[in-house]
């Protein structure tokens, strides 16, 4: 039983990890075909895993309603939103377009006349965009705190951010519009400086970080394959 609980997962990870690693370096078509199939296998398993997430969030809110915890009314809103969208998925009140009905016979976004599409377009998209847009204000507030030029490094950060922000808007670019468009002095135009900052120091800085991340990913992957890293199994027996 211990083998099934603790050792079999390590064996599966080792065999599969080594196999996938080896076939990456074998360009033969049959091997690549197996690799492609395994990729689809993993996405299918991931699809089932999504049900765990749905079960978790709905379970949590159902418990909140059952125990009448503060704010349980909002849990009703969440569950009703979920259920309504799921029902809207079945577009029985409008025929799906002929060209898409064959592939997705149960409706969805392909049916631009259905209720699902309506909810997606008029409810989900606006809410998502607004949710992210209000971050602009919080980022501005964070910027106020972090950009105070107390040290030389903070000043460098501030100057780079201000140049990039100004270089992205017409007002900023108009500040240096009087500079010539070609020649040496053109590199002092706001949009040119923005472009340079993003393509040279920004690229170099993140390249240094990416190299470190790559080494970290490789090291962790090797640890997982050889069973040194087993935290994915969770605790207990």
């Amino acid at each position: 039983m211990t083998f099934l609980r603790r050792q079999l997962p390590v064996v599966i990870a080792f065999v599969l990890g080594m196999f996938v690693l080896i076939i990456f370096y074998i360009p033969a078509a049959p091997m690549q075909d197996i690799g492609d199939r395994l990729k689809v296998f993993v996405t299918i398993i991931g699809a089932f895993a999504m049900l765990l997430g749905i079960n978790s969030i709905l379970g949590q809110h159902i418990t909140k309603i059952r125990k009448r915890r503060p704010g349980y009314g909002y849990s009703w809103v969440l569950i009703l939103g979920f259920v309504t969208m799921m029902i809207a998925w079945i577009p029985w009140w409008s025929a799906p377009p002929a060209d898409s009905a064959a592939y997705y016979p149960w409706g969805g976004l392909e049916n631009s006349k259905g209720a699902f599409y309506w909810m997606f377009f008029w409810m989900m998209v606006p809410m998502q965009a607004t949710m992210f847009s209000i971050l602009a204000f919080y980022i501005a507030s964070a910027a106020y705190r972090s950009f105070r030029a107390k040290t030389l490094e903070a000043s460098v950060l501030l100057v780079a951010a201000v140049i990039v922000m100004l270089g992205r808007v017409p007002l900023g670019t108009s500040l240096t519009a009087w500079l010539p468009e070609t020649g040496f002095w053109s590199s002092l135009r706001m949009e040119e400086m923005t472009s340079w900052l993003l393509n040279v120091p920004n690229a170099a800085g993140f390249r240094g970080i990416v190299l470190g991340v790559a080494l970290g990913i490789i090291a962790t992957s090797v640890r997982i394959i050889f069973g040194v890293e087993k935290t994915y199994m969770g605790g207990g027996d």
């Binding site: 997962p9 599966i12 699809a47 008029w122 409810m123 989900m124 501005a140």
Partner: protein, 258 residues
Amino acid sequence: MATFIGTWIAAGLTLMILSFLYKDNPFFRFAEHLYVGIANAFVVWLVWATIVLPDFIGRVFINIAPDPDVTWSPDFWFLVPGILGLIMLTRMIPAIEWMSRWALAFVVGWGAGFMIGPVLNSYLLAQVYASFPWVNMQPYIGAPPGEYVPALVNAIILFICVVTVLIYFFFSYEHKGVIGGGAKIGIWVLMVAFGASFGSTVMARVSLFVGRARFLVQDAEPSGHAFSILLTLGILIVIIAAIVGRRQPPTKESESAE
């Protein structure tokens, strides 16, 4: 009619979420919970329509896209991920929860093996290769000095910046002397990089906000005097949110904390 109602609902929900800029309030919470519910259902559809239906059901059980030129036959190999997927669901049953480790090990093992090759190629070797000045100067061979010299300067700066950033992240030697000087420049490069990406992120968010504002002002306009009505609606939401927010009795958590 559907567009008319949709516009108003979208505008109302947009204002409800924007009301959070004042403070947390029932309107925001309503919209927030509604969003989470709808977004979860959308993800279920997305996974169903793009993975489960074409890759699992369509390969094993039924032919979802009949094509007279192609003979369809079930591919029973795809039952394997189906079974593993079901095993993954044992996580919901405490007594046999441990079985889900098999499916998890499959995914994690595959991910570990799959990542090494591409990461080594594109994140490590390709990035190192692309940092050398002579590699970046290849497209400029034979170019006039007006193009060649700035490109050369940029290529050298890029190389120096990458090296100094790497020196900064190298902790096996104490950051003193030449190493210390390199690390110092590395910090500046990183600060410029963070500043630049911070600026980019801010502008992306502002652009989203402008998009939402434009929606409220322009797109809702065909609905008839939309802007003035929306403005009134927005002000009303903020006022009610302010009143409700101030009147809200202290919760049990805050009482116990006190």
